[in-house]
């Protein structure tokens, strides 16, 4: 998308590296210390949604594809992980993998359909497919309908670490988040990521250069779906439940909002966006309907005046200052 283009002008690789390094350090320290300052359960939830937003950002920020149906990957991952842990009695790491694998497979099928159109159509198609997934979850027996899957056991990590300890659970989630985050960072800066960006900027030119753009787009879509599924699976274990809200279209909208607010196409933006939005839902819970209204207002104002998002604006300001 247009506004995610980085400002023109020569880039200083050394500065970029320092900037990324510093941001990463801040993030690691902040999340590393988080459970000492806030409610660990809440901090874990933040990490799950931050991962979800990062997965989403991989698609929109670097592939230029706006999916309005990412809740289906998040929710399906969540349901399958919960079901695997609770009913099949799988150990926690396998349950999470099951959830992520389910979303990956779902991502392949929906991706094959959705990438046949671009732009707005892509958004509408993903939204419609996600609605179908929602109806499926509503009616399927294993999801428990409105009751959801409750009391999902956390169990022991690798049979050793008791995850019912909030701190153990927190650092487990943090480790998974960090690994996934670094993976995304790596993907974005790999040749694959460069091709994706090229497709985003000008697809016909990428085709003329001999790239089979459909394959790249599908790969990005599936990767994004898999990571969203991973986030959903983690959340099922963290919250110890999986419910219909995770697959509902409003969740797809929320992840778009997180990414937009934080900064599409920036590495750290989605994390910041997720923290702000989830904190808003949690700390402003006594405001009732105002939460939705505030989210809507943020959407409108971001699109009109702050398309770079929080992190994008900060980055732009830092770069300007250096000139």
């Amino acid at each position: 998308m247009a506004a995610t283009e980085t400002p023109a002008g020569p880039r200083d690789p050394a500065w970029e590296a320092r900037y990324h390094g510093a941001s990463l350090a801040i993030m690691v320290v902040a999340f590393g210390a988080a459970p000492f300052f806030m409610y660990p359960q809440f901090a874990m939830q933040l990490l799950c949604f931050a991962l979800f937003a990062c997965a989403f950002n991989l698609l929109i920020g670097f592939g230029g594809l706006l999916s309005f149906g990412h809740a289906m990957f998040f929710g399906m991952g969540s349901y399958l992980a919960a079901h695997a842990a609770k009913v099949w009695g799988m150990p926690v790491e396998l349950a999470i993998l099951t959830g992520a694998a389910t979303s990956t497979i779902l991502g392949v099928f929906t991706g094959l359909l959705a990438i046949r159109r671009q732009g707005i159509y892509f958004a509408m198609i993903t939204l419609a497919l996600a609605q179908m997934a929602y109806f499926f979850c509503l009616q399927a027996r294993f999801t428990g309908g409105e009751d959801g899957i409750q009391s999902v056991p956390r169990g022991k990590l690798l049979g050793m670490v008791d995850l019912n300890q909030p701190f153990a659970m927190y650092y487990f989630v943090f480790a998974v988040f960090l690994a996934a985050f670094l993976l995304i960072h790596r993907i974005v800066h790999s040749p694959f990521g460069q091709v994706l960006k090229a497709i985003r900027e000008n697809e016909p030119r990428a085709i003329s250069l001999g790239y089979r753009t459909d394959r790249y787009k599908l790969a990005a879509f599936v990767l994004s779906a898999a990571l969203a599924g991973l986030a959903g699976s983690l959340k099922a274990i963290v919250a110890q439940n999986a419910s219909l809200t995770d697959v509902y279209w409003a969740m797809s909208g929320e992840v778009v909002l997180m990414t937009l607010l934080g900064g599409m196409g920036t590495i750290f933006g989605p994390v910041v966006g997720a923290v702000v939005i989830i904190a808003m839902q949690f700390y402003l819970a006594d405001l009732g309907a105002w939460v939705t209204i505030a989210q809507g207002i943020i959407f409108v104002v971001c699109v009109l005046s702050f398309r770079r998002g929080i992190v994008g604006e900060i980055e732009a300001w830092l770069r300007n200052r250096r000139k």
């Binding site: 409610y39 409105e146 409750q150 009391s151 419910s243 809200t245 819970a285 009732g288 309907a289």
Partner: protein, 404 residues
């Protein structure tokens, strides 16, 4: 003089009571958390009205005079199980909340049920329909007031068959909740000697019910049972009136209908609908007096049974806390079960070992516009289902700590 002495004595007694209470009541306050949906689907039937109801209970209990320091906190769970369980944990861990009330939406309620049990506090549910709260997922820390799916199905089914509505056609929302309602109702209809002539499973969030209503009409069943909720119920009733189902001699039975739904439909559309409620504002002088106060505080909106249940639940909870002089979760719930319930809204009743509150239920019919004397004059009571028959028998619930 005499008077002055009395007040002095009372004040002294109160001071002692307060001192006594301080010793055992955590943080010196009893904190009530009203956790419900304040912005979405269930906001009307609970929402801020439930907060008003909780505050009225504190007022009527005369907490201050009895030396109990009671506070109310409130939050919107946004119908998200994770948000709900997090708020519950935060309330209990960081803010010293002793009891969580209301919590509509079965998914959220079951999640909160678990949290409250793990942390040893009290959960008084009024808003959720799931009968699992006192069955498979029952907890020694949970009390379920007002209604549940079993009671709705059973009450409506048996009472209607008794009144001659012995042939049924079901319009069922095609998901767990709708299917459970249909299954339970069908069982009781058959048991009472009725017949089920047909059923159709309708996807949830269907806008247009006409095809299904035509089938219901063609079945010639006396009763069309609506095993759905919320917007689906409203749409099906609205369109049934359009197709002249009630005028054609069939009756609609709503298996989960709240006063707010009838209000939203208007009598013209809803007339003739039969449903089960455990509370209606116009039952007797006591309910009328209470509801008038409630209405004045709630912008003229009359209370739903969920809001009434919040009031009664909080009142009974405070009585138990005062009697026990402690707000220890499991002990208070045990005390609540030991003491008979008695309030202006549900009358005398009791709380069973599985946490189910037992009180009578009422089969009501929605009035014709010509019969209604004003706003919220909606129901006429057809039959009273006695408390001992209204709810699922203790032994059938499968609650783990109920002795077989």
């Amino acid at each position: 003089m005499n008077f002055k002495l009395k007040t002095l004595a009372a004040a002294a007694a109160m001071a002692f009571a307060a001192a006594g209470a301080q010793a055992q009541i955590s943080g010196n306050v009893v904190k009530i958390g009203v956790l419900n949906d304040q912005s979405s689907l269930y906001a009307d039937l609970g929402g801020l009205g439930s907060v008003i109801a909780a505050k009225m209970a504190i007022e009527d209990f005369k907490a201050k005079e009895k030396g109990l320091n009671v506070e109310v906190v409130t939050a919107d769970h946004q119908n998200k199980a994770d948000v709900g369980s997090q708020i519950a944990s935060k309330w209990i861990d960081a803010e010293g909340v002793d009891v969580i009330v209301d919590v509509p939406n079965s998914g959220v309620a079951l999640a909160v049920n678990q949290v409250v049990r793990d942390k040893g506090k009290v959960f008084i549910n009024s808003g959720a329909a799931s009968s699992d709260l006192t069955g498979a997922k029952c907890s020694p820390n949970t009390v379920h007031w007002t209604y549940d799916t079993w009671m709705l199905a059973n009450g409506t089914g048996s009472a209607i068959v008794k009144r001659g509505g012995d042939t049924w056609f079901f319009l069922t929302a095609d998901y767990a909740f709708g299917q459970a309602l249909e299954r339970d109702t069908e069982a009781v209809v058959l048991k009472s000697g009725g017949k089920v002539l047909g059923k159709v499973r309708v996807p949830i969030n269907t806008q247009d019910f006409s095809s299904f209503l035509l089938q219901a009409q063609a079945s010639k069943a006396k009763i069309v049972g609506l095993a759905n909720a919320g917007g689906d119920t409203i749409n099906s009733i609205k369109q049934a009136s359009e197709f002249g189902i009630v005028k054609g001699g069939q009756n609609l039975a709503g298996l989960l209908v709240f006063l707010t739904d009838v209000h939203g439909l208007g009598l013209e559309k809803a007339q003739g609908l039969i449903l089960t409620n455990t509370f209606y504002w116009d039952l007797n002088d006591k309910t009328r007096a209470w509801s008038k106060r409630f209405g004045a505080a709630n912008g003229g909106k009359m209370p739903t049974m969920v809001q009434a249940g919040v009031y009664a639940g909080v009142l009974h909870y405070l009585k138990a806390v005062a009697a026990l002089k402690s707000d220890d979760g499991a002990k208070v719930v045990a005390k609540m079960k030991e003491m008979p319930t008695d309030d202006a809204l549900f009358g005398k009743g009791s709380i069973r070992a599985d946490g189910r509150t037992i009180h009578p239920a009422y089969l009501v019919e929605v009035k014709k516009p010509s019969e209604s004397k004003g706003p919220y004059d909606y129901y006429k009571v057809l039959a009273t289902i006695p408390a001992d028959q209204a709810f699922r028998p203790l032994a059938d619930g499968g609650c783990e700590f109920v002795k077989k």
